[in-house]
């Protein structure tokens, strides 16, 4: 499974989201051998680039071409709790086990 954090420039905020996702997976003791997390800019976020895309909600229109069921819109990028809820939803959907804190 591939998760991409996306932002306008692919530099700063997307990496913050990537760090949060990775920290959450680690804290929940998820086997990440088949999970890749990366970050990129909106221009590189094509439907086949990843299984799930995390993006700040005001940029939603910039990723309008991505399938909506694979796009997670974040209200507050640095809010780990919000990101965690979405990560857990994806893990549930994919049948990947994790340790809820």
């Amino acid at each position: 499974m591939k998760i991409l954090a996306v932002c306008q420039s692919g530099l700063g905020t997307s990496f913050m989201v990537q760090m949060n996702i990775q920290a959450i997976l680690k804290a929940e003791k998820v086997d990440t051998s088949n999970i890749q997390v990366n970050h990129t800019d909106v221009g590189s976020a094509t439907p086949d680039a990843a299984d799930y895309f995390f993006i700040e909600s005001t940029l939603a229109s910039a990723v309008g071409s991505l399938p909506k069921d694979r796009v997670v819109l974040l209200k507050t990028l640095i809010d780990k709790q919000e990101t965690k809820q979405h990560v857990n939803d994806i893990l549930d959907k994919e049948g990947i086990s994790y340790t809820a804190e």
């Binding site: 420039s9 530099l11 700063g12 905020t13 700040e56 507050t76 640095i78």
Partner: protein, 148 residues
Amino acid sequence: MLDLLNAQTLQVADGSNLSWEEAITIAAQPLVDTNIIDPAYVDSIISVVKEKGPYMNIGPQIVLAHARPDSSVHGVGLSLLKTNSAVDFVDAKHPVKLWFVLTATDSQSHLGVIQQLMTLLTDKVAVQKVLEALSVGQILTILQKLDS
């Protein structure tokens, strides 16, 4: 930790009479003064926000102003302006007191800075203290305590 934020790159201002463009320009001034960026970088940030909206409002009252690396950037840099009054970032739904400016020369060089910055930003207690700080000295004290 966060050694890029120091007495030179931290500023505290009243803010009540500032526009968001002015807040970002003031926040970036120490990086212009030390030749880490040319003023054109600040113009790039402002144009991106005008074009794409307030997505750089990454958390409550926090903006991480940045643009793509280009010829106006000469190094990795970080600066912070804290305004005692909130300034509307683009619109009234995005009031901001912490104005970070981040510069990067490529897609890798600044990742360490972001990691350090996240240590601060994910610490809600520390962020609240910075929001309440009224002087550069107070902010430095808060940042130094993050180290220990």
